[in-house]
């Protein structure tokens, strides 16, 4: 079978925000993964009821270990279990790594723009962490859109460096004296454009559509823009 279901075990958990948790999983003989890829999880109750969800891998490749960051949606079916109940040592079925399109090749020297809305930042963080781990010299910029300060994840890793520029923008409530007033992403946040730049856009479908339109209108090369849509915001919990 090309992509078998494997059994992963939880080895650690980490709070990223009040409502988001990173799960550190161990998978025997994990084949490794590229930044941007995802896994499918399959959860089965004792009576046989099962649910499947896809989660982007948040971590750079690291042996048998991989990390997922799960946003709690209170009305969701799976995320409350993963964030609150899934216990260290317990098994879970996992299939992956999946995806050949929304992937950043670590050897790619071209400049990169990452545009993430909400939980769309997760696969982009895998790209950013890989970039850092291999000391890539490719210029990299992350534009990360969130509703309010309490929603930010990976807070400690959003610090700009020589090669990595980070723009954090708030759509509903910005911290006091934040230079940019709260509001949705605009072309000003995404420009200036450069047709050489490889762009990755990820997040709720509405965010991806709006950001993609703006990027193309700014002059980014449409053929260099790769997108991953998570569906309506608040779905797939």
């Amino acid at each position: 079978m090309a992509l078998p279901w494997r059994v992963a075990r939880l080895v650690a958990r980490r709070d990223e925000s009040a409502t988001a948790r990173t799960l550190v999983l161990h998978v025997d003989d994990w084949p490794g993964h590229l930044p941007g890829q995802h896994v499918d999880l399959r959860l089965t109750a004792e009576d046989g009821y099962s649910a499947q969800r896809s989660y982007s891998i948040a971590s750079a490749a690291d042996g048998d270990s991989l990390e997922l960051t799960v946003q709690l949606l209170p009305t969701g079916e799976v995320s409350p279990f993963l964030v609150n109940d899934y216990a260290i040592g317990d098994p879970i079925e996992l299939r992956g790594p999946i995806g050949g399109w929304f992937v950043w090749a670590p050897t790619d020297p071209r400049p990169v723009l990452l545009v993430g809305g909400g939980s769309g930042v997760v696969p982009l963080m895998a790209m950013l962490r890989t970039h850092r781990d291999i000391a890539s010299r490719a210029p990299l910029r992350l534009v990360y859109s969130v509703r309010s300060p309490g929603d930010v994840v990976y807070v400690d890793e959003l610090k700009p460096t020589e090669e990595v520029d980070v723009t954090l923008l708030y759509t509903r409530a910005a911290p006091p004296e934040w230079p940019r007033p709260a509001g949705r992403v605009t072309p000003v946040d995404l420009g200036p454009s450069d047709p050489r730049v490889r762009v990755y856009v990820c997040g709720p479908t509405g965010f991806v559509e709006a950001a993609s339109r703006q990027l193309v209108a700014l002059g980014y090369d449409e053929r260099q823009i790769r997108t991953e849509r998570f569906g309506p915001s608040g779905s797939q919990g």
Binding site: R42, L43, A45, E46, T75, V78, F81, A87, P91, I92
Partner: protein
């Protein structure tokens, strides 16, 4: 062979005796679609029953609303395993719409705005078993749930209750609709768990 995920229960309430095999009780009303929500202005909306001889019988929105209507309370069952009990609707019975339609056809192919279709025997639309519904739970039927009007045939799996209904074609031979062509069951009785072809 799936392994059990300790502690996982899903979004389900305790099982009720009224549930068909393999179904679970949903607390919300999940939205599942095969495509984008069609935008259908009411002044252009029509519902047409076409007989096997090609004879059309059409109603405009105003004409539909002028017909005698019913307020069925029914259980609904989706092939994805969720069920909702005692859902309340308002709509026109297919008995009313078919009353003056002369036909000897045995089958129906239901068409929706947005190119969705589904098939069922004509007798499953008759005798109080089906409605063209335009209100749900006391309000106008929302577009994501099939508004302005959908077919409601609750004794079959809910993919047969075509959203955004625009017409029914009466046929001498059964013709599979959108999901039936792809392996869903041609009839779809939840009590016999007829989800897929061959079940």
């Amino acid at each position: 062979m799936a392994i059990v995920t300790p502690g996982f229960r899903g979004r389900r309430s305790a099982a009720a005796e009224r549930l068909p095999p393999g179904q679970y009780l949903a607390e919300d009303f999940p939205v599942l679609s095969a495509g984008p929500t069609p935008q259908v202005p009411l002044d252009g909306w029509t519902f047409t029953i076409t007989t096997e001889a090609g004879q059309p019988h059409s109603w405009s929105w105003a004409e539909l609303l002028a017909l005698p209507r019913e307020t069925p309370t029914v259980d609904i069952h989706c092939v994805t395993k969720w069920s909702k009990l005692d859902t309340t609707w308002e709509g026109v019975s297919l008995d009313t719409l078919l009353a003056d339609v002369e036909t000897s056809a045995d089958f129906a192919l239901v068409h929706s705005y947005g190119a969705y279709s589904t098939n069922l025997p004509l007798e499953d639309l008759l005798d109080g078993k089906a409605w063209i519904a335009f209100r749900y739970d006391g309000e106008d039927l929302a577009p994501e749930h099939g508004g302005p009007a959908r077919l409601l045939v609750p004794h079959l799996y809910f993919w047969k209750s075509a959203k955004w209904v625009r017409g029914i074609q009466l046929l001498h031979e059964d013709e599979p609709g959108f999901w039936e062509t792809l392996g869903y069951h041609e009839y779809g009785d939840p009590w016999r768990e007829q989800r897929y072809a061959g079940d």
